[in-house]
């Protein structure tokens, strides 16, 4: 509670604004927390780092939480991370327990959020302290590990790795930057591209294009159908909400929040995995597993506690290692670079006040989210009805602002938006996965510096194995994650074959 006093009134206000906008974004199906953060980034250009982060963290928490509203009322997850909320939330609405379900979801979200803030506050400095001793070699291996984990957890190992590598490749276009010890020469391009791509593609237009425009294009392809809001959505409370629902669910709360936080820490897997995973775990441990899916509070608790647990978890690798834990934190990296701050093991130590502000803002965001949603849920539920034909043009407009302003007015950045918007749309059609690609794009340049500099100073490839016990340990982890994924792939394909024979 002391922490909250660290927040200046201005930051507190920004958190509140962020939470509100975030909830709206989250509540509108198809618009995600990542988009909310990406679209609102330009607003932070005029703010300093801690204020900007206050706004963005508010958006993050609000965006993840808002997703439960349409999930429960319409059976459409407002964000991917509330997918498992629909399993039990919507049946509850059909039983006339809509308001109860919403409030159960909100309380669980609050718990998950607070839990993950606590873990973040405790764990990130520890990990950072440990990582400070890393040399370029360990840092390179950490990135390699992050990439293999992402790939092995994506839908398809081979394509996951391909997507990540493609991201790295895209990040290398441009100059080998002198400021990090490169020789300032350009590569991977033709001469005519040099004036535009001398510094490569800027991170933010790429992100905004991939997360903002892609979604609009996908909607356009489907013809901008409006979600039909059933007239049967009534919030009249037949079943009253009381904290008594949570009796006997404490274990469920803790388990789900932990799963969420842990999944958040792994790079590249988002909230949907966290939500589904903790839902299945809740089912496994449930006393009455058969009732799950028919509209019991247990399922809503599991899903919502875990997806808000994700928020703090995803920030851990970001703030201690500089590796984003999910797509939203990937966009957050943009906010840091915008302010000229490198996130990595040194961040917490060098920017202690900012670190405290981050924790405070995250804490405040969860509390504000709770207050707003718990007491104004009926009004929040109405935003689902904002028509798309009003919303989408505005989103494109905001994307333009974000792209243009990032480098103080470079028109090429706006074209980058469109380029990556169309690219991302096509990429998803052929199965390339966006999240590994983004993380590869973010980490690619650092990976190059660590790799090349290590070779320059040691002159042998074996150094990557022999430098330190940590290096060996990281290799073990890399092979474990690869092995795990190969194992599951083989198991799945065998199962498929068997079920194919049965059929």
């Amino acid at each position: 509670v002391d922490l909250l006093t660290l927040l200046s009134p201005m930051s507190a206000l920004l958190v509140a604004v962020g939470v509100l906008i975030g909830i709206v974004f989250g509540a509108i199906p198809g618009m995600t927390a990542t988009m909310a953060v990406a679209v609102c980034l330009p607003l932070t250009y005029a703010l300093d780092l801690s204020q900007g982060l206050a706004l963005l963290l508010g958006l993050y928490v609000g965006g993840i939480s808002g997703g439960l509203v349409p999930a429960i009322l319409l059976n459409i997850p407002g964000t991917p991370s509330s997918i498992a909320t629909t399993f039990d939330g919507h049946p509850m609405t059909l039983k006339g327990e809509g308001e109860k379900a919403l409030k159960v979801g909100i309380v669980s979200s609050l718990f998950g959020g607070l839990f993950s803030v606590a873990i973040l506050a405790f764990f990130a400095p520890l990990l950072a302290d440990f990582a400070i001793k890393f040399s370029y070699i360990e840092k390179f291996l950490i990135i390699l590990l992050a990439m293999t984990v992402i790939a092995s957890l994506s839908k398809n190992l081979l394509i996951g790795i391909f997507s990540g590598t493609l991201g790295i490749w895209l990040s290398l276009i441009g100059t080998y930057d002198i400021s990090v010890g490169g020789n300032g020469k350009t590569r991977l391009m033709f001469d005519f591209m040099v004036p535009y791509l001398e510094n490569g593609f800027s991170l933010l237009p790429v992100l905004i294009g991939l997360f903002g425009l892609v979604m609009i294009l996908e909607e356009a392809e489907k013809g901008y159908r409006e979600q039909t809001l059933g007239a049967d959505v009534n919030l009249s409370a037949r079943a009253r909400f009381s904290l008594g629902i949570f009796k006997g669910q404490i274990v469920n709360l803790f388990r789900s929040a932990s799963i969420g936080t842990f999944v958040g820490m792994l790079p590249g897997i988002g909230g949907s995995a966290a939500s589904v995973l903790s839902y299945t775990q809740a089912k496994n441990f449930s006393r009455e597993p058969a009732r799950m899916g028919t509209g019991v509070a247990e399922g809503v608790i599991a899903s919502e506690a875990s997806n808000n647990g994700l928020t703090g978890g995803a920030l851990i690798p970001l703030l201690s290692l500089g590796i984003p834990g999910d797509s939203t934190t990937a966009v957050l990296i943009g906010a840091f670079t915008l302010q000229g701050i490198q996130v990595g093991p040194l961040f917490i130590g060098e920017h202690l006040p900012v670190w405290h502000q981050i924790v405070a803002a995250l804490l405040a965001a969860n509390l504000i989210m709770f207050v707003v949603m718990f007491f104004a849920i009926k009004h929040v539920a109405k935003v689902i009805t904002v028509p798309k034909y009003i919303l989408y043009p505005i989103i494109i407009m905001m994307c333009v602002v974000g792209g243009y302003a990032i480098n103080y007015g470079v028109m090429f950045d706006v074209w980058t938006l469109l380029l990556f918007g169309v690219f991302g749309w096509g990429a998803q059609k052929v199965g390339i996965e966006i999240v590994p690609l983004i993380i590869g794009f973010i980490l690619g340049k650092s990976a190059e510096v660590y790799f090349v500099k290590s070779l320059e100073s040691f002159g042998t490839l074996t150094i990557f194995f022999t430098k330190s016990p940590i290096a060996v340990f990281l290799w073990v982890l890399i092979f474990l994650s690869l092995g795990f994924s190969v194992y599951t792939t083989i198991k799945d394909s065998r199962q498929n074959k068997r079920s194919g024979k049965d059929a």
């Binding site: 250009y45 494109i396 490839l461």
Partner: protein, 147 residues
Amino acid sequence: MLKAFSSLFRVSVDFSRSHLLFPKIVTVVLLLLLLAIFLVYGIPYLRDVRRGKRTLSVSGRRFDRLRFFGTIVLTIVYFLSMDYVGNFFPNMGFGFLFMSMPFIFLLSLLCVHGLDRRKFLALSLNALIAPTVAWFVLARLFNISLP
């Protein structure tokens, strides 16, 4: 023996060419992966195509050509015109302001289903108000550069 083994891994990096080392590795890996993907998924897929089990075209599902390509064309025209108009009024953000209005208006018209007078009024007002608010808040209050 051990010495020969370690020399196998010996690499010396020439600084003036060091900008090419990592991109080259990544490109090679990328191509190898592409080849692997083609072998694992592409060949069975093509075989199915030849047997007539599947078709190469991705269409067939519901694909709203008018709205999809309309959105892309509108966006391109929007970007071009914004840059063009903006050059007449440097650093004012007018290109953004004046071009966003017709863009939002047209894109709304493209999106909307079952247009009636109420919807038309709403989207027209939105096209006027939204860019003005965005322009005022960002360009005037926050001094963010706009085209």
